[in-house]
Amino acid sequence: MGWRPAATLGSLRERARVLSRIRAFFEARGVWEVETPILSVAGTTDAHIDSFTTRYQGPGAAGGLPLYLHTSPEFPMKRLLAAGSGPIFQMAKVFRQGEMGRLHNPEFTLLEWYRPGFGIAELMDEVEALVRSFLNYAPARRVSYAQAFEEVLGLDPHRADAAQLGACAKACGLGPVPDLGGDRDAWLNLLFSHRVESTLEGLTFVHDYPASQAALARVREGDPPVAERFELYVEGVELANGFHELSDAGEQRFRFATEREQRRAGGQEDVAADERLLQALENGLPDCSGVALGVDRLVMRTLRLDSVADVIGFPIDRA
């Protein structure tokens, strides 16, 4: 029946317990809970994330103010950090256009937290402590992106060119794959999500991503340079994504411009860069690491269920 929740009431009660234990975990560690706007004049320029848009009309905006629903609370949380907040966390509903499936719902609950003074190794420790307080797993394996990739596919993801990656994708038993042309990162994404992820057992942190997939992470110089970024996988399902946060305003400005160019080339709608974030970075973001974790998936794994719809009362098809 259409009015009933998709998840059982038992699962929803368990979900409530997970949420309150997450809050207790951070309270015990002196990380305080913040709230930032769901509606924002700035969206994300990330070419692979599309925002919902809406409009405020009323006092203060007679002509109407176009607004984005946030896809993550990252930018305003960094503004709090730049203002001197110290360690903070947030659990927020976030919204992403075009994402729906067994592991996706267009609105979902993200737990995001920031730790001034932490590098990614210390933050991975904390993520592991939180996750293992819910999931009964052996200590997490930590493996670099290059090692995980090479173990399965026998190619160096930092040095293989698009043609080599494409040839590998065509030969690795996936059947015919779309032609992704000269887009190295698209090939890497295809190979990693289709071939490598499913081999990641138990809890696995993958770290040191290709510099071209740094997103908002710092790049550590070296040969090759790598992004100080990590992902946590649970039985091959992506659960969290963390960065040693980029704090260089100039570099951030450059990445926004690059992403906007990517959107333009792909025929996607343009999104303006978040000038308030850039101002905050210019003012100075403390050296920090931050991570976003999918709460629906954490609850799903905690209850040993298969689909996020099993732990969300009203997913989009019942919303």
Binding site: D46, G101, G175, V177, P178, S193, Q213, A215, E238
Partner: protein, 189 residues
């Protein structure tokens, strides 16, 4: 030419794949938090029955297949084609051996089958789940043996051979499940 984008993919959708009609069996949305979205799809080739896996870029489109499952009455076999009729429009089609496949051993005149038409041409035939068919060949029945649980082969009028209880005789009419090929019961004439 009609097309479907990956956003329209769902179980049962009929699409063209490598020149053959196919039906989507499973569709998984694959999207890393940072990175490309893909649709990982399992499809059944409707001509060969083989299941294939395919990956599409999110937003990609593929051609729709004009495939229709139609209830049709089996009429007769002319030695080369099996002829079926739509009982509403009286339209008739002839299905060749490849299309009829394993169904042919269950076909009895006037039974209603599901015929899958691609551009109006039959590509597969599904017999009714239960059919009633006469035994044309079997060892003589052991009268009264309804309890020992032994079985023997019996050839039915449509050509199928099924395992039946020992008391069954030539001329008996049986109810059979075509999905498992199993004897269900003796049918009343």
């Amino acid at each position: 030419m009609a097309t479907y984008s990956t956003n329209e993919f769902k179980r049962g959708l009929k699409v063209m794949l490598d020149g053959d009609p196919a039906s989507i069996v499973e569709n998984e949305f694959v999207k890393p938090g940072k990175g490309q979205a893909f649709s990982r799809v399992k499809l059944r080739n409707l001509k060969t029955g083989r299941v294939i896996e395919r990956t599409f870029k999110s937003g990609e489109s593929i051609e729709a297949a004009d495939v229709l499952d139609t209830e049709m009455q089996y009429l007769y076999n002319d030695g080369e084609h099996w002829h079926f009729m739509n009982t509403e429009t009286f339209e008739q089609v002839g299905a060749d051996e490849t299309a009829v496949g394993d169904a042919k051993q269950w076909l009895k005149e006037q039974d209603v089958c599901t015929v899958t038409l691609w551009n109006g041409v039959p590509i597969s035939v599904l017999p009714p789940n239960h059919v009633t068919l006469k035994v044309v060949e079997t060892d003589p029945g052991i009268r009264g043996d309804t309890a020992t649980g032994g079985t023997k082969p019996a050839r039915l009028e449509s050509g199928a051979v099924v395992q039946v209880p020992l008391f069954i005789d030539i001329g008996d009419v049986l109810k059979v499940d075509t999905r498992t090929g199993q004897y269900i019961s003796r049918a009343k004439e």
